[in-house]
């Protein structure tokens, strides 16, 4: 394992903010289930198990505070409610599985949010004006008698205190038999896909009463089922391309130009299994838990239980880069299987210039990897550090021989599997990252990186 020195291109991070409850005795509904920056990173949406979405806004630039790294609550709203499917006698959880921001089209912001069954389009808008003056009431709200109306009054528009509203614009429902795991917007900015375990549907953002099934891997007989879809994403620029990942560690690339139904992929990305490491758990740990296109559109990043892999779209027989995340867990798979942790779905993300990768692990650890030097650094998301924002994060080492008196070393036997970082997000242009532990959202900002673009 490499240490994070200052001589390589790995960034050093300052803790910035912690959001969420302080004590650990918190409610199940507060569990963070997804986080997502918008197109320019000015907004950060966080969804939770209780169906709520909190949107944070980056501090506005002012003369007194030119550095704008803090995120403050912009609006909180309830996106999904628990429902009951009477036909199938199934409870539908309100948990927000994913949030995707639309490209901005007018002063308002739009986002898609989904639970297991239903995708919703929300509009988040600001109101700064208000109409005043009624005919039947006077300015104090007292009703005027009919006789005293001698003149018609047209309301006058007056400025008022900023009010942020979230309005549900559309509901895309009744198209998924299984649980939706991902939604992704197309670069044409009018269509999006929604993927469940066995099918992928294509929607138009303005049409709720029809969707087209573009992938269906459901075998005629469910006993023949060998894999499920674990994630799907559109290419950032080529409107016709999308990929979906499977529980067998396979990625399929489909071209919507070829035919209306994309059951037949045009490219399949699969790494031949290494016979030396084969075990009972091989199949489970090869399942891809997240897939992301790089900003350039040239590469794909996938996360399975133990590794991050970078795939080149031009090369389908193996990943171009493989980064073990917590190789020390390979000997603990049995325990992880027994406590179900082996099925945890870790997310992964690209840095703005595609040169760094971010993903999470157990014990509230997260790892940032440089693709250039192949060096990486493990940090712990903890409240103690976050309250000292002037101090750089210290990298941790995880090893079997860790000494107790060393604070930067963690013994593999003392790892807490109940603390895990499944959700993370990287700012689209700046070196700011958002990390979710169970209930808390941490933001970190890199040293000397007020903005990459400048």
């Amino acid at each position: 394992m490499q240490n994070a020195g200052s001589d390589d291109d790995l960034l050093e991070w300052y803790p910035s903010q912690v959001k969420g409850p302080v004590d650990d005795e918190v409610q199940e509904a507060d569990l963070i289930s997804t986080i997502e920056f918008n197109e320019n990173g000015e907004l950060l949406a966080v969804g939770d198990k209780g169906g709520r979405i909190v949107v944070f806004q980056r501090e506005q630039q002012t003369k007194t505070s030119p550095r704008r790294n803090e995120y403050n609550v912009y609006i909180t709203f309830h996106s999904h409610e628990p429902e009951f499917d009477y036909l199938k006698s199934l409870e539908i959880e309100e948990k927000i599985n994913q949030i995707r921001w639309l490209k901005r089209k007018n002063p308002a912001h739009f986002l898609l949010s989904t639970n297991d069954k239903t995708v919703k389009l929300w509009k988040i808008s600001e109101k700064t004006k208000r109409a005043e003056g009624f005919n039947l009431r006077d300015d104090n709200g007292i009703i005027r008698s009919t006789n005293s109306i001698t003149n018609l009054r047209i309301p006058i528009i007056k400025p008022m205190e900023l009010m942020v509203e979230a309005t549900p614009k559309r509901v895309f429902s009744n198209a998924h038999t299984y649980h939706i795991n991902s939604i992704s917007l197309n670069s044409d900015q009018e269509t999006f896909l929604s993927a469940d375990d066995l099918r992928i549907n294509l929607w138009h953002t303005e049409v709720t009463n029809q969707s087209f099934n573009i992938v269906d891997i459901k075998p005629p007989n469910m006993e023949d089922l060998t894999e499920v879809i674990t994630g799907a994403e559109f290419h950032p620029r080529e409107c016709n391309l999308f990929v979906y990942s499977s529980s067998r560690g396979i990625i399929r690339l489909c071209d919507m130009r070829q035919s209306a139904l994309c059951d037949r992929h045009c490219k399949i990305f699969e790494e031949p299994e290494d016979p030396t490491t084969r075990s009972f758990f091989s199949e489970i740990i090869s399942s891809i838990s997240d897939i992301k296109f790089s900003h350039s559109g040239r590469y794909m990043l996938t996360r399975d239980f133990l590794n991050l892999k970078v795939w080149d779209l031009q090369m389908d027989n193996r990943p171009v880069e493989t980064y073990p995340i917590h190789e020390y867990l390979r000997t603990k798979l049995c325990a992880l299987y027994e406590n179900d942790c082996i099925f945890d779905k870790f997310e992964c993300c690209w840095s703005p210039r595609d040169n760094h990768l971010l993903t999470g692990s157990y014990h509230n650890l997260f790892k940032i990897t440089s693709r250039l030097t192949r060096k990486d650094a493990i940090f712990e998301a903890s409240r103690e550090q976050a309250i000292r924002p002037r101090q750089l994060l210290k990298a941790k080492k995880v090893m079997p021989s860790a000494r107790r008196n060393r604070r930067d070393e963690i013994n593999t036997d003392t790892l807490e599997f109940s603390k895990k970082i499944l959700h993370c997000a990287y700012h689209p242009t700046d070196n700011i990252i958002a990390i979710a532990t169970a209930h808390n959202l941490f933001t970190y900002i890199a040293k000397d990186s007020s903005s990459l673009s400048s």
Partner: protein, 592 residues
């Protein structure tokens, strides 16, 4: 127009309510108020409408979409209410802000209203007010305003000075090259319309390159809209120019990598054919069409197949037969055995249209085997589509040629497991009856028509009774008396009360075409007997039937049979029976 101030207090009140409800919490009330905006404006008078109401409306764009939609629509009709055409420009600001909201239908409605208002501007006002509005929209920060601008340029172009014309063309050009696909799509959709009002010299210099760019856009959704623009533009060129300027791009669209683009080409092929004329059709489109018929994507083949008849009809008469026989028919022959049922069913719905074009001999030799093949297709929809178009072929070779294959196909469809298919075939029965004649019909099909009366799906039983009525109208009363009525009456003795009710429903419908004598002699006794039925539903349907058929009966029958029967039913133990019986009874007493 009266001003608000001089009206009495009484008449002000409803208007005051309307104005206040523009801001009611309840969307429905706001909507009602917006829909009565003209009433408010009328009460305010033109002055105050211009100076107060319109500015207020300009700022109310924070409302629900349906309210905004209604507002956008209203404003398009507001010219008189703001003081006529010389003041029409005051309506531009609210519409301009509505043309920028995120909801497409609202923007489209605002654009539509702006398009209605444009011609009402004087030439000066057009340049002072309308054109600047268009410019602001076209250069707006958000794509929503820029998409709206693309629909407004063409409506003011013709009436502005050459200098402004140049600016507008430049604006449109920048919209065609916008960063966002939405704006490029909007521009592509309006390109054809704008091309029609532009001077010919610019058409070639500026518009052809725009079209070529859009037709080669990286986004599928832009390219497919460019195809439609291309069709509109093609109609504006003379033959040689067309070939030189546009055909290469249009040809490449028929071979686009994306099936969606090819689908649009297939879907708009007949329009394209009309736009490019016979010569290019012969040289280019026929080849393109036959490759679309063989497209790897089923959606494209289905769209192409559905254009078969129209495309062939529009071929120039001298070469039509030869082209169809040598180039198109071979594709069609392959298509009959297509893997995809939608393709086959699209083909089946138009293939019969070829026979009048090709004449008797070709039909017998080439088409008939295809028809017969399709009549045996696995998918009921294919068979149904063939049967529903029998008319075309009847005119050419007579339906008898088909009857041997037709019959098994009909019998099979008649007992298809899907009730919608059965419903489909029932609807064609009267048509088939007319073409096949009563003897053939009696022999082969009448028993089918009767069996539908006892179908287990109500919609089929209902359709079956309607079918009987049409057959009786076609074949006459004697036929009804000998074939239909005995079978209907038989139903009255069925074990199942639903069938006994079907008997009544059939009588409801048959009474009128059968006339007084048959109704009274054959059907009325059955109805009266059913009045003693054990099931209440049957009994109250007797009352309903009597109420329905009494105009056909003479007064003695009414007095002797119907009246006593209804009297008895009004004393029934069941409330519903009493109700319907007394309703019928009153009607009949009136008639007596």
């Amino acid at each position: 127009m009266a001003s608000g101030d001089v009206q009495s207090d009484e008449s002000l009140y409803p208007i005051a309510v309307l104005i206040d409800e523009l801001r009611n919490e309840d969307v429905q009330l706001r909507l009602n108020s917006i829909k009565k905006l003209s009433t408010i404006a009328l009460a305010l008078g033109v002055e105050r409408t211009r100076s107060e109401l319109i500015p207020f409306l300009t700022d109310t764009i924070y409302d629900e979409d349906e309210v905004l939609l209604a507002l956008a629509e209203q404003l398009g009709t507001f010219t008189q209410l703001v003081g006529g055409e010389s003041y029409v420009h005051v309506l531009l600001p609210p519409l301009e802000s509505l043309a920028q909201v995120e909801e497409t239908i609202v923007r489209d409605k605002a654009v539509e209203s702006l398009r209605t208002l444009a011609p009402q501007h004087s030439t000066t006002d057009l340049e002072t007010y309308f054109v600047p509005t268009v410019k602001r929209l076209a250069q707006g920060d958000w794509f929503t305003s820029r998409t709206s601008a693309s629909g407004l340029i063409s409506v003011c172009y013709a009436r502005v000075s050459n200098h402004v014309k140049g600016e507008l063309r430049q604006l449109f050009k920048s919209l065609c090259q916008d960063d966002t696909p939405m704006v490029r799509r909007a521009a592509a959709a309006k390109l054809g319309e704008f091309a029609k009002v532009v001077e010919p010299e610019y058409l070639r210099q500026e518009f052809v390159p725009l079209f070529t760019n859009l037709a080669n856009d990286e986004q599928d959704s832009v390219r497919l809209l460019a195809v439609e623009a291309g069709i509109a533009m093609a109609g504006l060129f003379r033959h040689e120019d067309l070939e030189q300027q546009m055909m290469q791009t249009l040809r490449s669209a028929t071979e686009d990598k994306s099936w969606r683009v090819r689908y649009v080409v297939a879907d708009k092929l007949v329009d394209l054919q009309k736009a490019v004329g016979p010569e290019i059709t012969k040289n280019d489109l026929v080849g393109a069409y036959s490759s679309l018929l063989k497209d790897p994507e089923a959606e494209v083949r289905a769209a192409a197949a559905s254009k078969l008849k129209d495309f062939c009809n529009n071929l120039s008469a001298d070469t039509r037969e030869q082209i169809i026989m040598s180039q198109i028919l071979p594709c069609v022959k392959d298509m009959v055995g297509d893997m995809n049922q939608h393709v086959k069913s699209a083909l089946a719905s138009v293939i019969m249209g070829l026979s009048p074009i090709l004449g008797k001999d070709n039909t017998l030799e080439h088409l008939l085997p295809l028809f017969l093949n399709q009549l045996k297709d696995d998918y009921p929809e294919v068979r149904l589509n063939i049967i529903s178009n029998l008319e075309c072929i009847n005119e050419v070779i007579g339906v008898r040629q088909l009857s041997q294959s037709l019959l098994p196909a009909i019998v099979e469809l008649a007992s298809d497991a899907k009730w919608r298919v059965r419903l489909g075939i029932i609807e064609y029965m009267p048509l088939l009856a007319g073409q096949l004649g009563p003897e053939f019909f009696d022999e082969k099909l009448s028993s089918l028509c009767m069996s539908w009366l006892t179908d287990h799906v109500f919609a089929i039983r209902e359709a079956a009774t309607n079918n009987l009525k049409k057959l009786v109208e076609k074949f006459g009363r004697d036929w009804a008396q000998n074939t239909v009525i005995p079978k209907v009456i038989q139903l009255a003795r069925d074990q199942n009360y639903l069938y006994r009710m079907t008997c009544l429903f059939a009588i409801n419908i048959l009474a009128e075409p059968c006339g007084q004598e048959i109704t009274q002699r054959m059907m009325l006794p059955t109805v009266i007997t059913l009045a003693g039925d054990a099931v209440a539903n049957v009994r109250f349907n007797v009352a309903k039937t009597l109420q329905r058929i009494y105009p056909v009966l003479d007064s003695s029958a009414l007095a002797m049979h119907v009246k006593p029967c209804l009297e008895k039913l009004t004393q029934d133990v069941d409330h519903d029976v009493q109700y319907f019986a007394s309703e019928a009874y009153e009607k009949i007493i009136e008639a007596l």
